[in-house]
């Protein structure tokens, strides 16, 4: 293993290269562009056998990926924001046709107004599309999860596409030391894809038939079942990956939760800031903790309940808005996971970081203090707060 300086985007590209993908069909969009540019260079330098299709739009990118995946090939793509939104119909088709495609998503705000910076509204807008969704905290995680994503996607009990989400600019463009594995180690870990079905003239099948009212429902139920298998498969894959890399992954990561009275739940790079703030507060004797989810879809309700069930108050940080809903996407998921508990923690939602608006340690400290206050008084002053917006 060697440590190389790379940005999140570069780490994803490097991981895709080592994963021996057969096809990359992608279209550039800030802040994903470095992924596709890096990959183009690998192709131009003959470093990979991959067929690189420079498609004319994101919709065509995922379309070409679906076609390629159906031949039995290992497929990778990447997008962001408007591009992800443009391929929206194809996201559902990719999961409906059970294509184990891996996509790096450089999370970026959705227009309008147009904004190129990091928030989670793009993937949140597609959270019901049947994709497995993983959020990473830094470039190292982006690298590790991209590799693991192929193994999860291609598992015979899953056969679903996976998106690896990394915060636009904050992760995609920030340079870090990333511990990369040897090519041989990744090869051995992933092996070749073994498709369940494929387009093969020797065995002619029809894919994408019209399913009327008498069949559609059954195939959607199959997808639900596949989603139910994801967590078990993920844990198995992470265990195997630990053996190769020494790094520990799973559905979520906690800090200070053993004795926490107040907690913050979040996705992505903000978890790092939250951890630092929690460390500082804990040193002062405050019982706070952080829960960072890696796996967002399927939502690991059991683990969330185990981690958070005992706290008195918690704040869920959402880097996206679900207009018209009582709470943001992540907050709603946490609330539904905990709703069967007899004694529930007090929960409030903090929307932050929209359009790449920076979140400061002071913002998170404010949230922790509010949570501690609620833990003491049992009163939620603001069910939803907007951190960092000018009034």
């Amino acid at each position: 293993m060697t440590v190389e300086g790379m940005t999140g985007d570069e780490a994803v590209a490097h991981a895709a290269k080592q994963s021996n993908v057969d096809i990359v069909a992608a279209y550039p969009i800030t802040p994903q562009t470095i992924i596709v540019e890096r990959f183009s260079k690998y192709v131009a330098d003959g470093e990979v056998h991959t067929g690189y299709v420079c498609v004319e739009s994101e919709h065509s990118a995922l379309s070409a990926c679906v076609g390629a995946s159906l031949t039995g090939a290992r497929v990778f793509t990447a997008s962001s924001s408007q591009g992800l939104a443009l391929m929206h119909e194809m996201l559902y088709i990719a999961s409906g046709l059970r294509c184990p495609i891996v996509m790096g998503v450089a999370n970026r705000a959705l227009s309008a107004p147009i904004n190129i910076h990091g928030d989670h509204s793009d993937m949140m807008g597609s959270r019901d599309s049947g994709w497995v969704q993983i959020y990473v905290e830094n470039a190292q995680e982006a690298y590790d999860w991209t590799i693991q994503a192929f193994k999860i996607a291609e598992d015979k009990d899953v056969q679903l596409p996976v998106s690896v989400n990394l915060d636009g600019f904050i992760i995609t463009h920030c340079m870090e030391g990333v511990d990369v594995l040897e090519d041989e180690a990744v090869n051995k870990f992933l092996q070749t894809r073994k498709p369940i079905f494929k387009l093969d003239p020797k065995n002619p099948i029809t894919v994408g038939a019209l399913c009327f009212t008498d069949y559609y429902y059954e195939f959607k139920r199959q997808q639900v079942e596949a989603m139910c298998h994801v967590q078990g498969v993920l844990e198995k894959v992470c265990k195997g990956y630990k053996g190769v890399s020494g790094r520990n992954y799973g559905v979520l990561e906690t800090y200070g939760m053993e004795d926490a009275q107040a907690a913050v739940v979040c996705l992505g790079s903000t978890a790092g800031t939250a951890r630092e703030v929690a460390r500082k507060l804990r040193a002062k004797g405050k019982k706070v903790g952080v829960v960072k989810l890696w796996l967002y879809r399927p939502f690991p309700a059991e683990e969330i309940t185990a981690a958070l069930g005992h706290v008195k108050a918690l704040a869920v940080l959402d880097r996206a808005i679900s207009f018209g809903a009582s709470y943001g996407a992540l907050c709603s998921d946490v609330i539904s996971a905990l709703h069967t508990l007899k004694e529930k923690p007090h929960i409030f939602n903090a929307v932050y970081g929209l359009g790449g608006r920076d979140i400061q340690p002071s913002d998170i400290e404010f949230v922790f203090n509010e949570a501690l206050e609620t833990a003491k008084t049992g009163i939620v002053k603001e069910p939803t707060m907007f951190l960092g917006v000018r009034e």
Binding site: G96, L97, R98, Q159, I196, F197, P204, I205, T206, V207, G208, A209, C211, D214, Y215, Y217, E218, F219, R221, Q222, E225
Partner: protein, 95 residues
């Protein structure tokens, strides 16, 4: 097919893939017909134009003349209309 014959989510192939090529042969479209083609074999010169034009592969080739596969013939009338020898007549389907 009854509900049971259609299969549930546990047994149906993944992703709505149809594994059996040409399984539409199980669906007999012959009952769509209002008119049916009758081939006058003596007039048929086996030019095979009706065979190539038939949208439903319902013209059967033989050594000497053509025959109609009434399991699938929808009675569109293209064969009768295109036959250069007027060897095919469309007659009303008996119910």
């Amino acid at each position: 097919m009854t509900s049971n014959e259609k299969g549930g989510w546990k047994t149906l192939p993944m992703g709505a893939v149809v594994l059996e090529p040409g399984s539409s042969l199980k669906y007999k479209t012959g009952d769509w017909r209002a008119f049916k083609p009758l081939v006058e074999k003596e007039k048929c010169v086996n030019c095979l134009l009706c065979w190539i034009y038939c949208p439903d592969s319902a013209i059967i080739r033989t050594e000497k003349w053509v025959e109609v596969n009434y399991d699938y013939c929808k009675g569109c009338g293209i064969c009768a209309h295109e036959c250069p020898k007027e060897a095919i007549k469309m007659v009303e389907e008996q119910k």
